[in-house]
Every structure is written in C-alpha cells, then in structure tokens.
Symmetry: C2
Subunit: 381 residues, 2 copies
C-alpha cells in the first residue's frame, strides 16, 4: 500500500460564518480550487468521497449534493461519517479506493454548514446519563480537569495554546478568527465549562476543503511537487470513554492506536514528523494529543507549548494553520482542511506561517469525544 | 481487482417492528450469526464498515456503536451513508479495503431502526419545491404514472409484483410481512399515492444484516463454499431527477450506470445472472429496475412478472427473499440483507424459497429517489 497514492491538488474555502453561502457553493469553491491547483479537468475524476458529519436543512444531501454541485455524474460518490474524524476518514477511504486498483484519480471533499441548522442545532452526544453537561465542552472539560490535577498544570498553560494558534491563524487569510489574543485575554474570558473559557474553545464554523488523490506513479503527469501519502490509521475505541473504567482521563487511546498504525505504515517515528495539524477542539485537547501522537511524554504537552517548541519556529510546529481554534471547525471539512495545510506547507507555500524545511507533515482528528481518531502522514522521508 | 474478495459468512436478524430491540442488539445479533457462519473469531476482524442511513435517538451512534456492541476496538470502523444504497455501498467499500491490501478480513454490517425515531420521523427529501407530496411514495408515484401511461400498463401489473414478493416472503422466516396477498387484496387496498396502494409500498422496518469479507485466496481457510465477489458498481446521478429535463420518468440512469460498471467488472451480461435481489421499495420500482438492470427491454418489466419469469421457478427469479416489499426495508440494512440472501441462495440454503442451481446472484439498491444506485454481483461464472 505504501507510496501508492499522492495528492496532486488541494482547495479550501475561507472558513467562517457563511450564512449566505450554500453547502453546494462551498463544495464548488473548494473543488474548483483543487481542480485548478492540480491542473486537472473535472471529467478526469473517477470517484469521490464526501466527508460530512451532518447533512440537514442547510447541510445538503451528502453524496448527491456533491454530484450535483460539480456535475460529477455516473461515477461512485460515497459519503463517509465518523464524528470529528469525518474528513480525515474520507481521505483515508479515498486512498483505499486508489490502492484497490478500482480507480486512478479520486476527489476527497469535506464540507459542513454548522451555523445555519434550521433551528435544530447540533445533536447531543455522549451517554444518556450525562444529561447535564452533555456537550463537547462539558465532556472534554472533565478530562482536562483530571489532567490538570494529575500533572499540576494551570489554566495559563492552556492559554498558551490559544495564544499560539491565534497567532498562526492571524497569518492565515482563510482562517475564521483572524486575530491574535493575549494570555490575559484568554484567562479573563467568560467560562464555558471550567477550565475552558471562551478562547479555549474552537468556534462553530462553516467551510469546505478538497484534495485530489492520484496513483503515485501517475502523479508527475500533473505536477512535479505532488505530495505522497506515506501512512494512515483509524482507530475506534469505546464511544463511552468517560464510563470506561480503564479510562484515565489523561488522553485518548484512539489517537494512540491510529498514530501507531500510521507511523508503522509510513516507516516513521514521531521524531520524523516536521510539523502537525492536531485536533485542538479545546486547548487541552492539543496538549493531550501532542502526547498521544508521541511528540513528547505524557504530562509534557504543556511544557512543549510553554517552551515554544510547537510554535512556527519551534522544532515541532503544531497547527501552523491556526488549528481548529482559530481556523474554525466545520466538522466534516476540518480533516481535509488539515490535509490542505500539510500539502501547502510541504510545498513551501505556507506564506507568513511557513514552517522551516518540512519533510513529513501529520494531520490528526479525534472525535466522539475521544472515541475515534484518524491520522494521516504526508510528505517524503 | 476481480476475484480478490470472497464472502465467508453472513448473518441477518428477523426484520420487523423491533421496538424492544436496541440498535446495538441488532448489530450483535447479525454480527454473531455471521461470525458463527464463517467460523471466525471476532478478534480476526481487521476493519469494519457500517451502513446506517440515519443514526438518531434510537438509531445509535454509527461507527462507535458498532465498536461498542461487538467490543471491536482499536481497528478502523467507517460509517458509510448513501441514501437507500447505503448497505450495498458499505459492502462495496469493504471490498475496496481488502483489494487495497490494507486488510484481509472485513466486517460489513448494515443496521437501521426506523420505527422508533423519538418522535422525529424520517427526514423529508427531494427538492424544496416539492413541498406537497415530497415523500418517497409521492415521488416514485410520479414516475410510475408516467411509465404506466407510456406503456399502457395498469395497476394489476403492479399488483403481480406484490403477490409474487409476498409469496416469497411468506416462505422466509426472517421476513417482516410473512403473509401471502391476492391480486384483489392489493388492488382494493387504500391508496397511498396513486397508483400505489398500501400493498404497493414496502413497510417501515427495523433490522440488521452482516457479511464477512476475506481475501479470496485466504477464504478456503474458513469454508469451502465461500462466495466470490465478481463485480460491483456505484453511480450517482442528479439528486433532483424529477427536475432534470433529460429525465424520462421511465427508469433510473443511476441503476443503468451502476449495473454497467458491475457487469464489466464481473465479465458478465444480464443473461448470466441466475437471480437478483432488486430494490422494490414500490412495486413499480421492481418493474423498472429489472429493465434498467438489463433483464428485459424497457417497457417489458410488466410482462416479465406477468409471465412468471421472475417467480421462484422462473428463468430470472427476482427477490426470492420477499424483497423490500415483504422482507422490509431498514434503509442501511437492506443492501447487506440482499447480500445475505444472495449468499444463502448460492450456497443452496434458500430453504422453501431456493432458486434452481444459481451461479451468479445480483444485489441492487436505488435511492435518492433515483439519484444513487449500487449493484453487487456474487457467485461463480
């Protein structure tokens, strides 16, 4: 499987409060940017995967919306859904489709409209017993509190993640929240679910992103700086981690297992990764994920950010894009948007947020919360 | 890709009004029957695909529900959704995963709880302009009326499909509506959406079905009568066929295109198919689908059933299981349930509904309505 797939083009909409842009328009914008980037005629697309968590009143009709928006008819289009790992899992399935030999060129597209839900809002998730606080902030806060107690970490360490990611996002023209924040501003913001204040939480966002995958041996027909897919992994653990007696509230096994699969396939270790787009739905999540991905020991994720090692100029830049925190988190789009960032960075097109001489980039989603994780490794090692 | 995948085990719950059986219990029942059928330890499953159209209040949480129900942890589990073709498309993606080389043994499971929707009901689909009659019966009835006008066909021809499928389903212990009906009863039933009366419509059903896929060259380790996957196809056309000026209201291009892909891959023609499980959400749909699948010319589907050629003893038995009409239609489960029937028939385990010496079986879903179709061909040609 290794080295059989390459990314030959990527596209991404501006992320934000896009009330006046339809789901289909988002799909078009992301896809046509990717078609132009690859220099490909849409008629060459042989199959497509769409990552959308929640089609709905303003969220379109999944596979057929993609076909109609792009006039991609008569070919296979599959919608993939996997909580917050929807986008990266759609990408993983696109890789499988090429590796199977069934097709040579596949479009992977993640799209989500979260702001306009026709009054229905997001569905509640988690265990029915968690009737109170049964929300993403509420559940992740349970783990953050335990983690902070165990390792003696304060809220100022969380704030450093927000400061870093907003710094990066302010340098990214497509980010949702393009503004820097100070540690003081983060710490004084209203509390959403203790220890998370407003700036510890990613925003609710609309957006779409696209990637065009191709058989690696055909990729040079399209461009010389195509980006090989080196490895991927997906792991599902219990959907009720907070009721699992083996759960230590300090990190997520799904991320550890998905990363193990991806590193093994890539023939790489965490030390080989130049930078990573890591699922930072909350500031604590980034800290915990950097540990689960192997960039440091458990309990050291706070130091990693405090010492500037995850900054743009650090030895393992995390979320050069601005992350979910600043770039936004339209669920099904986020994973593909991370692929977009990895590809741009690896091609040296990161602009003001470019990291130095990257070789391997890693994209990571975790959702569920904590139940499912997907990891993709791209580049050349 | 051809001949790389085989089915080594299948399972299926009783279909019906299963208010007291949870989504997770349905998953367990179907999966453990398949594990036993394959003689496989669940720990040997390396990846899973779950087909569920609509997770929800009683519909579980998709991928993580499958993991939790079966304690299948740390492996990739992807939920696939593709309207009424959800189950067959999950199966198709399971094939791709094995053909990619990423894994040797994959569980494909379709599950759906439709009866208990927590008061929310099924989502409306179709174009917003179709505010009145914007339902599956309403939309398919538009096409049925045009078809009947064009070919001079009456309701009694539709009724013959219901009579046949109920006859078959009455001989199937797992079918939802296990009763025979007469042509007179079908014709005198209350009208749902003209020309469809109550017995022209499939019921709303709960159920689950499972199939275990394996690399074909490893299949004999599990059983000698494994069933090879010969071909598959998926095609998405416009999600608004009823607003497409090229739509003739006489059949669905998605089915024609998916069938073309599957026949090509299988190296087979419609004449090589011994029997088929065909998407009969309404009686007319079966008639039209048998044409679109190439079993007869356009306009001849009525004669096919009237002449008994699609009966159990005919030359091309259609829906020996009882079909959606009698077996029921829990959306994400239906396609995998069709695979279950194909495998049982090909192994000569069809019981009272066994067709004679089948070589190739075909499973077909169409949904959207009409926008997406998936075709799977199994057996030995």
């Amino acid at each position: 499987m290794k080295d059989q797939v390459a990314v030959i083009g990527v596209g991404c909409t501006k992320f934000g409060d896009l009330f006046e842009t339809s789901y289909e328009e988002l799909i078009c914008e992301a896809a046509f940017e990717a078609f132009a980037d690859a220099g490909i005629d849409p008629a060459e697309i042989q199959a497509a995967y769409l990552g959308t968590y929640m089609p709905g009143p303003s969220g379109g009709k999944a596979a057929v919306s993609l076909g109609d928006a792009l006039r991609l008819y008569d070919i296979p289009i599959t919608r993939v859904e996997n909580y917050c790992a929807t986008g990266t899992d759609a990408f993983r399935n696109g890789c499988l489709a090429i590796e199977s030999g069934a097709c040579d060129v596949v479009l992977v597209l993640g799209a989500e409209k979260l702001k306009d839900r026709g009054g229905r809002g997001l569905p509640r998730f988690g265990h029915p017993l968690l009737a109170k606080g049964n929300s993403a902030p509420g559940l992740f806060a349970l783990a953050a509190n335990r983690y902070m107690h165990t390792f003696g970490m304060g809220r100022e360490m969380l704030a450093k993640v927000a400061v870093k990611n907003h710094y990066n996002g302010a340098r990214n023209p497509k980010a949702h929240l393009r503004m820097e924040v100070t540690e003081e501003k983060v710490l004084k913001a209203p509390i959403i679910a203790s220890p998370f204040g407003l700036f510890d939480c990613c925003p609710t966002t609309d957006g779409a992103a696209a990637a065009i995958l191709c058989r690696a041996d055909l990729a040079k027909r399209f461009r010389s700086d195509y980006i090989p897919v080196k490895g991927y992994g997906l792991a599902v653990t219990t959907g009720r981690p907070f009721f699992d007696p083996t759960f230590d509230y300090l990190g997520f096994r799904s991320t550890q297992m998905a990363a193990r699969q991806a590193y093994k396939m890539a023939g790489a270790t965490p030390r080989d990764i130049s930078f990573a787009e890591v699922h930072d739905c909350f500031t604590w999540t980034e800290i915990s994920n950097t540990e689960d991905l192997g960039f440091c020991e458990k309990g050291q994720g706070g130091s990693l950010v405090a010492e500037g090692r995850t900054s743009l100029s650090g030895d393992i830049p995390i979320n050069p894009s601005g992350g979910l925190k600043s770039f936004g988190h339209p669920i099904g789009a986020s994973g593909v948007r991370m692929i977009y960032e990895c590809v741009k960075q690896l091609q040296g097109q990161g602009g003001e947020r470019q990291v130095k001489n990257p070789k391997l980039g890693l994209a990571h989603n975790v959702g569920g919360p904590g139940a499912v994780s997907c990891v993709i490794i791209l580049g050349n090692n």
